[in-house]
Subunit: 260 residues, 2 copies
Amino acid sequence: MSKLFIVGTGPGDLDLLTPKAKKSIEASTDLVAYGLYLDLLGELCAGKTHHDLPLGEEIGRARLALDLAASGKTVTLISSGDIGIYAMATLVFELLDNTIQNKEPIQNQQWLNIEIEVIPGISAMQAGASKVGALLGHDFCTISLSDLLTPWQTIEKRIHSAGQGDFVISFYNPVSKKRDWQLNTARDILLEYRPAKTPVLIGRQLTRKEEDITITTLDKLDAHDVDMFTLVSIGNSESRHIINGNTQWVYTPRGYSKKL
Amino acid sequence: MSKLFIVGTGPGDLDLLTPKAKKSIEASTDLVAYGLYLDLLGELCAGKTHHDLPLGEEIGRARLALDLAASGKTVTLISSGDIGIYAMATLVFELLDNTIQNKEPIQNQQWLNIEIEVIPGISAMQAGASKVGALLGHDFCTISLSDLLTPWQTIEKRIHSAGQGDFVISFYNPVSKKRDWQLNTARDILLEYRPAKTPVLIGRQLTRKEEDITITTLDKLDAHDVDMFTLVSIGNSESRHIINGNTQWVYTPRGYSKKL
């Protein structure tokens, strides 16, 4: 049978990998992923054929996964986090959509016979929010700050909308090696809508050995403190940073206070 | 040791329960949850003391979990989905915040000695998006339509903001037994911002035995087709519903089309 699993493996900690994701990898002969993600999975990937395409070759990775599955192999395409959130899943369906519309070479029609199963994973915003308490406790949104595929104008409009709606905001792809001004611009936009002292989570390498978590405030958020492996989540106007001895938490209330 | 795990057990399928969540339950003597969530976990909860408070008694449940942990027990407080997303985690931190501020009775100061660990879970929007493909493939938000704790004015403002920003939108708590008009109002607001034919996912009892998934369009969304166990996710203006033989998918493109 021709089968493609499209799988999110969570933020890094193998204890956050779902059994469903694990079983799909075990059932596969071929794994397609950025190499770092396979490294994080360790032993689980032993004995499988690894197809390790570098960052930036997302389209090649999606095509390869489809080609391998169409050739009769059982394949897992892997992203860390949730593969449905700023990751590879949507690209596979875009390729299938083009195939249905005859925009792909005729031989790729074989892709349409593949059985596909998407398996979600714990996303970085969830790993970060849970590590500091309950930052996603009320309405929230996610915005990718990468303008490689989305025009900056669209991103900027979304930041304004998120500010107006007072959503908790998680920024994915906050900076990259070649891209560093977007995060500070986003901060300045949000300062028009919410207090300077709004709590901010800077979560680097969440749940991994190198994990580093900083809780700061919106006015102090700076792109210099952030890299490609970092999630940035901004509280809404009611989010609270509380300190209990050596422990600190950030939470966003849901409105129970009237009843407590 | 006085320990409280605050745990999301995912949408229902035990294959989406993380090992970390499972281990916390295994390590506990006492489980605090709405009974249905314990039923979904089956055997895993055997031999534990169950504290099954009904829906609507969220504050009682949070207080009980804190009291049990403070008395020296190892306790897991459970919500299905992600306990940090429209669930019990934020309420625990709100109670702790009040305790730090001396707004709780003096004996509750003992809550501040509890070691707390929050463990995230797969949320309904992720279960739904993965079942139909990649609906969360680009910037998205969540909005709870329950006005029990949040004024309708705030909710309505968020729906407008989400419409303006063209976010994919997941509605949690779309209706309840006593509450049914909000979803249709939300639909009408969104029709001001995005096409009538925007794909909509209606996901009932996701990943459970009774799972029922409908893909419809924004203009046909109706509160009569939705109940308390249902997630409603609305695509953005670019989301696509595609059909391949007997299979159908919904995805939200990230912008690769220029490169394909």
